[in-house]
Subunit: 439 residues, 2 copies
Amino acid sequence: MTLPARAQEPGTTTTISTDGAGAVRRTVLPGGLRVITETMPTVRSAAFGIWAGVGSRDEAVADAGASHYLEHVLFKGTETRSALEISAAMDAVGGDLNAFTAKEYTCYYARVLDSDLPLAVDVVSDMVAASVNRPEDVEAERGVILEEIHMRDDDPGDLIHDEFALALYGDTPLGRPILGTEESINALGRDRIHGYYRDHYVPPNLVVSVAGNIDHDEVVGLVRRAFARHLTGDAAPAAPRVNGGPAPVAPSTRVIDKDTEQAHIVLGAAGVSRTDDRRFALGVLNAALGGGMSSRLFQEIREKRGLAYSVYSYTAQYADSGIFGVYAGCQPGKVEEVLSICRDEVAKAAAQGLDDEELERGKGQLRGAMVLGLEDTGSRMSRIGKSELVYESLLPVDDVLARIEAVTPDDVRAIAHEVLEAPQALTVIGPVGDRDFTL
Amino acid sequence: MTLPARAQEPGTTTTISTDGAGAVRRTVLPGGLRVITETMPTVRSAAFGIWAGVGSRDEAVADAGASHYLEHVLFKGTETRSALEISAAMDAVGGDLNAFTAKEYTCYYARVLDSDLPLAVDVVSDMVAASVNRPEDVEAERGVILEEIHMRDDDPGDLIHDEFALALYGDTPLGRPILGTEESINALGRDRIHGYYRDHYVPPNLVVSVAGNIDHDEVVGLVRRAFARHLTGDAAPAAPRVNGGPAPVAPSTRVIDKDTEQAHIVLGAAGVSRTDDRRFALGVLNAALGGGMSSRLFQEIREKRGLAYSVYSYTAQYADSGIFGVYAGCQPGKVEEVLSICRDEVAKAAAQGLDDEELERGKGQLRGAMVLGLEDTGSRMSRIGKSELVYESLLPVDDVLARIEAVTPDDVRAIAHEVLEAPQALTVIGPVGDRDFTL
């Protein structure tokens, strides 16, 4: 059973679904803090996450990179713990403590043995709820962030995706890199970082998600204690972000001349948003076009012609937009040939869709990958936490599988026509001088 | 209970241990093919792997890269399946089919839903047992391998580890890169690749390992059918490789001037072999020195000074040698400062070992990571398959945990003294011109 998540009153607990290994339960605490858990009684571990509904697309130009910068600073100390005390507590039990920042959310998580869950709740909640963001820590972390930017710049297979977002969305919140730029990071001071923290890390904008060998009521008790002083008032949980309709897309071509061995290519267009019903059909199309070793692009570019080691297509979804992209890394002298094959395959799929065998294989691939991906506590924690933040309600696994199964050849043809014939953005990084790769 | 694995007669099955989630069982089939399984009754998936006891250190200079090249070619087709039929079979069920080549072994594996195990056994076994290595496929794959080499060259954080092996072991089988070189790959013809396959992919040199919701006898039945024509004769399983005593180490300094944003550094020395009893003490030392966020190197270089984003220490083990290394990526102008901190911390640990708190934390970190890592079928498959190939017997998880627990401060001091005061190799990649980084 799926309940509209937003209808729930603070202070109450609801059973959201009972699919898969165990029940999914949700409690809204005073102040609007949500706790969502999934029990997996057969494992001996637990994954604990806190999701904040803030990411790089919430940043003003002057704040570019602030969400990610703040994510780093939250590891630097709380009112009662130093950075060393935070990391030592988790290292001592072999826990995996980490965080990541995306365009629309930020997540802090720890994976631990089930008996260590109280420690994980205490440490991660403390980081998020009682960060002090000391000026000297903000300063020290600036160097770390700059090195992270430099590391990204040294890995063209990573850099190209940031460049492609700029090619597709331009200099907009969705187009700009999550890491910010050297200039923006150097300009961000402690007060802005701390202000960003105060503004965004508030109970209605946070979701606690836990999966593993856990008890919902016990988790809620631990979270209540850890967030105690924040659990006041009658604020309701924040609604999923809307961002005012489809993000404008102005596809362009970016060619970055760089002294690398390979040329790295991304060709793509706007995909669909994460609430778009056509996302399942696009998923099947993506699987068949470039999602696996049997896909058209892998077969044509790698298997038959040996032109690339890494070649794949992918999708990304945001609240109001999405990406469909094709990546390949090849010899600099082969860019035109590889691009021509990519464009041919895209045009063929846009015109004719998939054959029946590809359609069934694409569905099987999505189904299998989804079910296989749900065996570890981290994936389950991510699924329920992210859903709680970005969807009106959690779609049970069986419903997702049914939606995949229901995709028809016409659905695929329609989305292929729409996405693959949309204006394309192109990014090339490599020793290509000022060569022109437009059609 | 742990039995000496080599004592087992072909055609018999033994229960090796019953630790963790389920029993580990081992069958030796005629011809010397081993099948080792671990039941995990609470999962719904299975990981199936075939391990070959051959890797880049078995290559003559003229064959450099042949093990890895062959690994690629095995995906290209069998007597009855094309490359597309291999990949389509696994994509259709959402299976994760892949392979990797190391210095001392090669592994082919698939992770699938338990109901798809017969398919995985059939496909992966066919790849390994009935590969045809067609000349045209070897040719097409040459381009793919060259692109894999170029991709490695474009990622300095990856390249540096290959360069470091050369700095430590020189131009020897352990020192040379797994991928080979452009020259060696261009020189390898179909006959050499096929000969390499015929020589090394023989039943006594292969181990089948399976973990998940499986039944040992059923797996053995499937493997018998898949390998049927190879299961003849009375060859015994190959003994673990010995390689004739400690690999000679001749540490040197390699400075590679390259136009990157960061300078990438690895400083290290010979560690211990995988059968060396001191590996548990070295593991604890490694955890405390650079294994986690609370480690000395992370604290000194990243947390306090913000000099690096990525900084860690690591160990690698081979049959007769090992590596202890420290990696950091930093501004090119900060290499001397970062190196100086690394050398200070290494010297301090070599002279004084660890304090009690670090020792306990290091043990906890190894214990927790080990237990957490055993929840997925892929990790369990790897543990038993690799053990079967490289050890005389499988060390049960409880025994490993006991060995970690038994590490004393004196053990750590002794191994720290030995490894950290050994002659050091150094590799730096970055825009550093001809700067001299020797002490």
